[in-house]
Amino acid sequence: MIARAERPAQIVIFGLGGQGILFLTKLLAEAAAIEGRGVIVSENHGMSQRGGAVESHVKIGDFAGPLVRRGRADATLAIDPARLGDARAFGGECFANAAAAEGARALDAAAIARELGNARAANIALAGFAAAARPDLFPARASLLAALEKISPPKAIESNRKALLKGMESA
């Protein structure tokens, strides 16, 4: 078995503009870098951010380019349940922000975020859920927390942290 720190991981995040996909992508990149891993991610900017479909790719390990091939993902996150079909087509284990989802591990991350009084943190809760379920693919908890602290606006650090931990507990 490959030692955990050496396993390459290809993760694809699906959602709609305005759901914090860019933030999540940056979070995973920073957390992987904190662990000293090679990492390259791809973000959507521009027109797609006007409520359109957004898809970002995260490749942890020794990769040259930022895009994941369809069918080659190790894990996918559907931040919006409407993107579940696209997420599942990319392969790997799918995690969905939904009360229930066919062919995916579902977590009502939106409800968690609302309970925490930070409706925008559903993305972070779902990432925590997936990271706890698949520690072989995602950066470790301590790295995620450190990265979250680094990139969150100061006043959102605490609520983002709670969302991540709550998501992790739900796995």
Partner: protein
Amino acid sequence: MAAPIPSGRSSSERAVLLGNGAIARGLLEGGCEVVTAYPGTPSTEILEEVIRQKTELGLNVATEWSVNEKIAFDVALAASMCGKRSAVAMKQVGLNVASDSLLSAAYTGCLGGFVVVPADDPGPHSSQTEQDSRLFAIFAKVPVLDPSSPREAHAMAREAMELSERHRIPVMLRPTTRVCHARQPVELGTIDRTARPAKFVKDPPRWAATPRYRLPLHGELNAKLEAIRKHFESSPLNAEDVRPGPFGIIAGGCAAAAVRDVMKEEGWDIPLLQIGTPFPLPVQKVMGFIARHDRVLVIEEPDEAIEVQIPDRRKVQGRLTGHVPGHGELTPDVIARILGAPEPAPAPAGAAFPPRLCPGCGHRSVFYELRLALPNAIYSGDIGCYTLGTNQKAIDTCLDMGSSISLATGFWRAHAKDGRDVPIVAIIGDSTFFHSGIPALLNAVAAGARFVVVVSDNGIVAMTGAQPTPAEAGAKIEEICRALGVKWVRVFDPYRVKDGIGLFKEARAWTKAPEGGIAVVVARRACALREPPAVRIPVDVEAGLCDGCDYCLKFCECPGLVKDAAGGKVTIDHTRCVDCGQCIEMCPSDAILPVKGAMARP
């Protein structure tokens, strides 16, 4: 929130940087003192990151969001003519605007290092063309470097600066979307804080060269390019696997990165020559690589810049031979298919999520009012968020920056020549108006054209993330229009739907009046993303009144309005709605009503 940038004093520091941030860092490490740009996806964050990093590091670097790309180019070039190191960034189509200067500057050369960064957009994701700036470099006769990752872009930005200053020639750095918007840990180098005092030395045969002097300058340019080609022959920017074999690949930019990843995943071991310096092409190196193989495939995007420069293509396959698709982005999926990897299962037809104007956007009301006031007009559109007026069927053309007004002039001329009067409306945003709408409007006035111009003014460059326009320094669109000779100019708030419908009808009447001509309506309302509506008017749909006609979905087209699948009626999605209240006027059954007790607009 941006992560802090390490100071860069020790070479072992790393930072996770966006490709555009890596380019910014490379330029600063290269001693860049003046950086200009006009925003455009995927290039915008280059100058944004220069501004962020210089602030973070306390660097004395002059930065400017110029009015358009040609002006940005000239401002940065003049800094180089004074001996400073400088750079200009833009999206690839911005280089079209700056091309007049680029081609001339190749001849005059520069003094301080001068790097031109046009960001290409294979796909295209947010552009009107898939044009290849490397071909522009060949056309203009300037060297070009082509990074495959943020890390390479960082190193190449520095290298481009050195190369430019050494040979006194503008050097192009050509990233593509997948470099600009990739993010990766980058090893930081030391910032060159050398101040190079501005000193313009008069040299008319160079800086004011007339055709007589242009001829020797052309010879000088050719000599520079040949010296640079020789340098590129042994440059580490062209990474070569020298093993012989039946099949080899030559690739550049992001396509090279994708080739590496696909080969690794498939367990293939094909010799690769990555071209980081596509022009002037290191021809000897390329021909040496080809000689060691029976067949060589060239993989590059978006067009064929390497392939066309190969003098003997008998063993070469690529776009010219149809082995690589002639359009579209070379994603790893496409490259895997070209190389014969097993295909994944076909993707399910997912729901489409087209981009839409944001809730609260003033452009939306402008389009609504236009369709009601002038339903049969030719709607001549332009480049910006408001191109999304196509969703409301209130944009008929979108050519390039500023063309709403010049195309409208042409529409008027074509019909007027036949003795016909048709309603024509040019719709242009504030930044696009400043960028290239002004000369088009001057031309329309001088031509005696008759149409309505709507400047939909949200105060910033919204599409690219809120960069400033000259309005920040006090420029007033209505005053500019009057100065250009427009006699009928009105300013209003597009949230006032009834006012808008009336004004657009009045404007049209002016275009038909004997003494009339061009009518300009400035629809002024701050971008809702930056400045949410000050007066909040929460609304709800009175289910008893909604007859499910979908009029609001088609004409208002706000993401906050959703059809309730079960009941067939429209409801308000309060997670998206920003309480702007614009839709109240847009329901034929008066079913969209302010929530009881909510304040009405004064």
